[in-house]
Amino acid sequence: MFPHEEKIIKEKLGREPNEVEKAMIEVMWSEHASYKSSRTWLKLLPTKNEHVILGPGEDAGVIKFDENTAIVVGFESHNHPSAVEPYGGAATGIGGIVRDILCMGARPIALLDPIRFGPLKKERNRYLFEYVVKGIADYGNRIGVPTVGGEVEFDESLDNYTLVNVACVGIMKPEELIHSYVEESGLLLVLVGNKTGRDGIHGVTFASEELSENAEEEDRSAVQIPDPFTEKLLIEATLEALATKKVKALKDLGGGGLTCASSEMAGKKGFGAIIYAHKVPQREPNMNAMEVMISESQERMLFAVEKEDLEEVVKIFDKYDLDWTVVGEIIDEPRFIVYWGEEKVADLPISILTEVPTIIWESKPYKLEKDVETPEIEVKDALIKVLSSPNIISKEWVYRQYDHEVQGRSVLKPGLDAAVLKINDKYGLALVSDGNPSYSFLNPYHGAMACVVETLRNLASVGAKPLALVDNLNFASPERPEIYWQFIETIKGLSDAAKAFDLAYVSGNVSFYNEVNGKPIKPTPVVVAFGKVKLENLTTMNFKSEGELIGIVGVTKKELGGSELYRVFGIEGGIAPKVELEREKKNIEGILKAIERKLVKAVHDISKGGLAIALAEMSLSSSLGFEVDISKVPVEMKLSAIERLFSESQARFIISFDRENLEKLERLFDEFSVIGEVKGKEMVFKENEKELVRISLEEANEIFNSLPKLLGE
């Protein structure tokens, strides 16, 4: 807490808070729990439209899928704990977001995990990577929620650190929505699930500071212990309890533990609460009131029920052998009172916990973008180096460890443009995540827009129309003026891009203070988009047969700043891809029409690695080769072959189609050109008559599947 905040608290309270009160206030006023540095700016994001049932403000957002189906979505980060203890940090990240979905009344049906690390050549980074994946797998698989997608990215700037973001989706009937706040007094507060231990004490406070060099030893106690078995029981018990219709409010215990859950549940509509902290079942001996109130032990939920309904509800917890305890009650007076036995150990106006003043930090713009000359690189060398980059190669090693089939909804599985879950016999829910920190670092405004439009191109590539967005904003310390500027620019970019497509953000998360040893991370906004797709329209990126024509949609420019090519060859600076929203919209609409009219066989968006990698991915996923002439690629300026192949300009797609549909496709797009055809078992790039590179699928496949080798397997 900052000195000026301590002063405000003292003034509001008219005295110094005691030790228990101070601990609770500290937790609630932490950046992670209060969003004090971000709240002002988050208001710029669009949050309402006809698809939104419930926007930001509770534990998760709710989207209308159809009259009878609501989709609940949330997005969380677990960066700090995962950097200290990757297995437990990642696993409890899953647990937390799953309970956020559950506590809106929905059954969790899928997870997406965008995860980021330092270079794999360092052992510590390999350790973080392998154990984050294992943490996600062990937890997600055990609770029976499929992990259907995500991203894996490696960057020098994350050396010795990790960004672990987790998005979760749930499904329910719209009328099953339950709120996290109470609207009457006299209700009992029932704590259900795991016992409370000393793990995760000060978890949110620790997540609101930079990590020091010795974080692994110093901060381990702030990382919670995962117990997926209890989580699974909690999911089933909670859904059964909600079916009784006797639950008045429901909230999970996450950051800030019992203090946060109970004060927000009571305070939101102006009520108060009394908590009997000594009654909380404890995992360890001799815990005190403060520890019990702020512990972030996992797999716990707080139910508000009427006295006369208690028996009916807790019968269900007994069935699942889950601990339950009445730990408090809702009172009319807006105070937050804690007892430890007979002793009153805290007595605060509840607003001191729930209404945290915002902070606006100084911001200072910077300019890193500058045009640089792309050096002469041999095309084959470039293709092989980019294709073998850990950011490009297949992530099969990762997603084979995730049960991505459980619950029986996974239509499009990991490794494609977007995952698709079957929602009913006709429609599916498409979902995808994208972040481009290297663009964002060079140009935070366009970098943020690029995240949004890339997700929308991914959705369009499988035939899905967007419904809603969620965002996760991973940044360094907001107290650094350049970082705060990045953050504000990012929000503006996210806002403008969403508005252009009439989309809203229904939930999100901000994680500041992502630094190790005083080194800030690149600004890393990650966006998840949800879309609706008619199952019969589903399209995938793999070529379907020889002889299909290959076309490119969109214009290629000299935009290689933050590109994979520049990263691989260590080229700094450059111009990051700029997002032109009108162009993006037109091309996305064209793709959706082409799919609907059954004019295309394969669609893939062009993103990381540019045209060359997009074609390689289409080819490798189908075991069919191609021959293309890149002189036919529409460009806006003179570009070298390397630049044409690896530029990461936005608003572009590759499609394959039968010759007979050529004219119809040409009419759909302003910028479109046929560049070659599906052919043989080799990837062949030409420029006019000159052959630039020829590589067999066999060779390319070996490179593309080299992740296990990089991990020493």
Binding site: R142, K232, Y402, D403, G408, V411
Partner: protein
């Protein structure tokens, strides 16, 4: 209409989709908590998941639950008992089926679509397949490496194969002896399999090959 119990232990997680697949195959099915009775059912399916979080060994704790005694009685009566994935592990742990499921040869979880060759189409669950037919289903397990002392003495129902039905080392995802993916007891009314037929019961999910396991089981009860 034959009615099946889909048994739910704490930590079971494939119960809902297994119920759906049985219904789609033309039977009736209900989720049954492991403390309830099974007496009104024509057969039992023990679905996949992580019962008791795989503590001790996968399936070991569930195999010692009281309800397994009832299941042994039902098996003796000749009613069909199907164990899928964790269900298979529970059946071997409880002695209803021979052998054991060890950690995969690469000791981690593996989720993947595989080809299976139907090696025995005379069990209660495989009558709708032809012998030697090649089918597709997903696996998702960390302990599916089947072992038994004398594999020639048991009834092998499914073997991991390639798309042409070739039983090869490359087609073996977990190191199972003889590429075994599923076995039955001698009478053919108790079957355990690591692949998930319920996840291959809808064309949108990749295959409907698994549906015939349930159709066969339903038909067997009607006989």
């Amino acid at each position: 209409m034959p009615k099946f119990a889909v048994l739910v232990f704490p930590g079971t997680n494939c119960d809902f989709e297994t119920v759906s697949a049985i219904k789609k195959a033309g039977g009736n099915a209900e989720r049954v908590w492991y403390k309830q009775s099974l007496k009104d059912f024509d057969g039992v399916v023990i679905p996949g998941g992580f019962s008791y979080a795989d503590y001790l060994r996968a399936g070991a704790i569930s195999a010692r639950a009281e309800i397994m005694e009832e299941i042994k009685e039902i098996a003796k009566e000749g009613k069909p008992i199907l164990g899928i994935c964790n269900g298979f592990q529970i059946l071997t742990e409880s002695g209803l089926l021979p052998g054991a499921l060890r950690p995969n040869k690469i000791p981690r979880f593996l989720c993947k679509w595989v080809y299976l060759k139907v090696s025995d189409n005379q069990t209660a669950f495989t009558r709708f397949y032809s012998e030697g037919e090649v089918i597709r289903m997903p696996i998702a397990h960390a302990e599916g490496n089947y072992y038994v002392n004398d594999p020639n003495k048991i009834r092998i129902a499914f073997q991991y194969s390639d798309a042409n039905g070739e039983i090869s080392e490359e087609a073996n995802p977990n190191g199972s002896i003889l590429n075994i993916a599923g076995i039955s007891n001698e009478k053919g009314n108790v079957l355990g399999m690591m692949p998930h037929p319920e996840r291959a019961s809808d064309r949108w999910l990749g295959s409907e090959d698994g549906l015939r396991v349930f159709k066969s089981m339903i038909e067997y009860v009607k006989r």
